[in-house]
Amino acid sequence: MRFIPHTDDDIAAMLATIGVARLDDLLEHVPKGLRDRAAIALPPGQTEAEVAADLTGLAAGNRAVSDGLASFLGGGYYRHFVPAAVRAITSRAEFVTSYTPYQAEASQGTTQAIFEFQTMIAQLTGLEVANASMYDGASAAAEAVLMAHRVQPKRTVVAISRALWPDYRATIRTYLSALKNFDLVEAPFDPATGATDPAALAPYANDRLLCAVVGYPNAFGVIEPLGQIAAAVKQAGGITISATAEPLALGLLKSPGALGVDIAVGEGQSFGMPLQFGGPGVGFFAARMAQVRQMPGRLIGQTRDNRGNRAFCLTLATREQHIRRERATSNICTNHSLCALAATAYLTLMGRRGLRELAARNVELASQARARLRAAGISPRFNGKFFNEFAITVADPARALARAEAAGVLAGIPLARDYPELADSILVTVTETNSLAEIARLADSLAGVG
């Protein structure tokens, strides 16, 4: 087997050193009944070429943008151009094949890159401190609610915007399902604008309100009145959590921190990670320094070595499971470090100007697409300001999507499954990867279905 270096002579010599005759003698202490049934009913190992052929065949069983389809799919996962330098960086074996930087002296590449990641996430969210990463945006949102509860343990009401991504809402529900003292309520969205109505929070704006969780932009691409929501929540003494699935928006929109948000979480996949059928991406998590000891996950801090050199290491680990065990702030151990590195490399390349211009380009193209669709007789579902996706109304979404697909266009995601009240709506997403010609094809393929 090509991954195992041992020759028969090696094995014999090692067994002799240990003082046994056969490999299976090393397993004598495992109950025989278990060993007798342990054979794995899988085919024998394959050559590298055979494995490659098998997997290439499976990959060919998918049809993706690489096959010439024009895609307007988003819904929490976004196709953006990834500069080649990102892959050149994230494929370095020193990054790829290391683990959690327990030994700081042998991990300065990882620790410094994560320190830079923490800094960039803090800058983007307008908050003071960010952690080293979470699994994804949805689990980060759930962990944010748990953190809010550590900060305000006596409060119970968790108000979740109905316009927050359905997967995020479902994940929060799962994470809270086993815990007492949570009372989940849903804040409706305005059927005209598609934005969460700050007034709808009024019934919960009292001393029982633990937190409000709002998408920014939300599940319809609409830019929430985050400042008004945060002000209402703050007045009640609660905590505002924003969840951003399309973080490119933060390159142009006012930061959650500047609008009064206390905890900003989100999905970082847009920053240099391919779609990969939905994972891995990377969750980000930012908060205020006063609450840092209630944060989940790893943190990297700056320090010095014994020669006075600047150095970086894991810190405030007394919050974490390996020290605090059942009293830890979270059970998270392995996070999404390599994806955080991809985001760090991507954001470095985009930089102060590029990120803003790219975000603007997305807004501009999405707006053009909406106008083209409108000209083709397709009405937008909402009139709120939007970032790079928007909902449209058609008579029969399934038929409309099938017709577009026949014309080589994946026109969007039907909203009916998660929003019965939007059974006539499709979410259309436009990024810089969509050309003007593709946008024209989108409009042509849907013309008349409204």
């Binding site: 991954f3 195992i4 090692m14 067994l15 050193t17 240990i18 109950p31 342990a38 024998p44 190992g45 590298e48 494995v51 490659a52 997997l55 499976l58 990959a59 998918n62 993706a64 988003g74 500069p83 050149a88 370095r92 074996a93 290391s98 683990y99 959690t100 002296e105 991990s107 410094q112 803090a122 800058q123 699994y135 994804d136 689990s139 529900r173 086993a178 142009l252 006012k254 999905e267 059928f277 891995p280 943190l299 320090t303 070595d305 150095a311 499971q321 020290i323 830890a328 059970n331 996070n335 390599l338 590195l341 760090t344 954001l347 470095t348 930089g351 590029g354 803003r356 603007a360 994946l410």
Partner: protein, 511 residues
């Protein structure tokens, strides 16, 4: 998983911002910035910016991102490549980090994950356009079921601890369905920290079971602790002492008799391939770390994947989404799963990791996987035997794929386990996991994995022996290690005392 228990000596309080930058270390990217530099030429440029602000209105937009980097593409590349050179990685160094299974990561697996049909597939693509991806997931589920001896598998969890949460929530859901939720989960004192932390998250109280002094769990202890409020035992097998739990079948029977379940933490699955199946041990639930046993890269701390496998009675409770074959033969995600614990994350799982693990399983085959565990066990037994005179084993029991060693240097010359670990870096080896399991004072937990050669082990053993002898003859040399790296001993105490967790423009520049 691993633990770095703090034993760094207290240093006088000093301002951590007041540091120099060694000639071989790397400036922060923010310090390399200059206004006007860029690393991409964004489509649309300034014209788009003006148009977008007009569309959204200036009051929705930020003026700037204060302090964000401004560097050219070559600068960015050099910055990160130079950073990479400050890391140890399994591909370059022996990395026997116990409990983490730092085995070889075949490059083919990364290449397969980047095939356009996988890498550019959108998770909301119409299901008939994603049959290849779903087929891969179905095959991986089946392979993991065959390997673990379980009936059904969910690939949704993103990491081992995420799988633990899924498993514990399933126990809860199963009990609720039976008419009442029990409060307690028993966890041995040798367990990883994620186990008790996951219990808390799943609303359970932790009851700690004491291991026998020889390092394993006794069925009698479980019988003594288990009562009508016991929901489950959560146990890693082989445990964190590297010992196969000899009474596991009896323990499973005792739990089941009490109406409790056996949760097997599969963190150490690399010892069990073709050796013993969790399903045969009586496990009701097992989670598997694809980034350990199935060779997906550790990435400096993830992403991994933590599939959870169950026996048939728990299948209805598996997390969403759940693969199902439709009547027309097409694979789809099941819509109606009323007993499911629900979602743990957005979309379907860490698919890129699933491709890599499946690629690995195909390459190894059933026979190759069985060889892997046997050679992993051989390597650990060999290291243990050869190191025994200076670093005796913490238990006399035979071990599996890893061994936990101790030493007498602390008493003899005040050289700690941490000092040994740091000195190993000077010899070009990543240290083992240290100070874990917590039940062993000054533990060194060594997991060589099957992909390391006898020569590498011999070199490592020679370094360990040399360090022992140095610690006797020249203790200061060991206590002040590392000496040969670009950085000296990092002061972790100072980092925690005054947390500085991000760069700010006003920070003094190190140079």
């Amino acid at each position: 998983m691993a633990v770095a228990k703090k034993t760094v000596s207290e240093t006088p309080a000093k301002d951590i911002l007041d540091s120099t930058r060694g000639a071989d270390t790397v400036a922060l990217i923010f310090e390399e910035s200059a206004p006007g530099r860029r690393g991409v030429d964004a489509p649309g440029g300034a014209a788009s910016e003006a148009r977008a602000i007009e569309l959204l209105g200036a009051d929705l937009c930020r003026a700037d991102i204060d302090g964000f980097p401004e560097v050219s593409e070559p600068q960015a590349l050099r910055h990160f490549l130079r950073l990479s050179q400050l890391n140890f990685g399994q591909a370059l160094q022996f990395y026997p980090l116990g409990s983490c299974t730092m085995k070889y990561n075949p490059p083919l697996n990364d290449e397969m994950a980047s095939l356009p049909g996988f890498a550019s597939l959108h998770p909301a693509a119409p299901i008939h356009l994603a049959q290849g991806a779903l087929e891969l997931m179905a095959r991986l589920e089946a392979a993991l079921a065959a390997i673990t001896g379980m009936d059904a598998v969910s690939l949704a969890p993103a990491a081992g601890a995420h799988g633990e949460l899924a498993g514990l929530l399933m126990i809860r859901a199963w009990e609720r369905k039976r008419g009442g939720v029990r409060r307690k989960v028993i966890i041995p004192d040798t367990a990883h920290g994620t186990n008790p932390a996951s219990c808390t998250l799943a609303g359970f109280e932790v009851v700690v079971a004491k291991s026998h002094r020889r390092g394993y769990l006794e069925a009698n202890e479980i019988r003594r602790l288990a009562d009508d409020e016991t929901a489950a035992l959560m146990v890693t097998n082989p445990n964190t002492m590297g010992i196969f739990e000899p009474e596991i079948e009896e323990i499973a029977a005792a739990l089941h008799e009490r109406g409790a379940l056996l949760y097997l933490d599969g963190a150490n699955m690399n010892a069990l391939l073709g050796v013993a199946k969790p399903g045969d041990m009586g496990a009701d639930i097992v989670h598997i770390n694809l980034h350990k046993t199935f060779s997906t890269p550790h990435g400096g701390g993830g992403p991994g994947a933590g599939p959870v496998a169950v026996k048939a009675h728990l299948e209805p409770f598996l997390p969403m989404p759940r693969l199902a074959r439709r009547a027309d033969g097409m694979l789809d995600f099941a819509a109606d799963r009323p007993d499911s614990i629900g979602r743990l994350r957005a979309y379907h799982g860490n698919f890129g990791m699933l491709v890599r693990a499946y690629s690995y399983i195909l390459a190894m085959g059933g026979d190759g996987l069985a060889d892997a565990s046997r050679i992993a066990i051989l390597n650990a037994a060999y290291a243990r035997k050869r190191l025994a005179s200076r670093y005796p084993s913490a238990s006399a029991e035979p071990a599996m794929h890893e061994c936990v060693l101790t030493h007498d240097l602390e008493a003899r010359t005040d050289v700690s386990t941490l000092d040994i670990a740091k000195r190993l870096l000077d010899y070009g080896f990543h240290p083992p996991t240290i100070y874990f399991p917590l039940v062993v004072h000054g533990a060194l937990m060594i997991e060589p994995t099957e992909t390391e050669s006898r020569q590498t082990l011999d070199d490592f053993i020679a370094a360990m022996e040399k360090i022992y002898d140095e610690a006797i003859a020249e203790p200061e040399r060991v206590k002040t290690a590392p000496h040969n790296l670009k950085l000296g001993r990092v002061d972790e105490v100072a980092a925690a005392r005054r947390p500085h967790l991000r760069w700010r423009p006003e920070d003094p520049k190190s140079d």
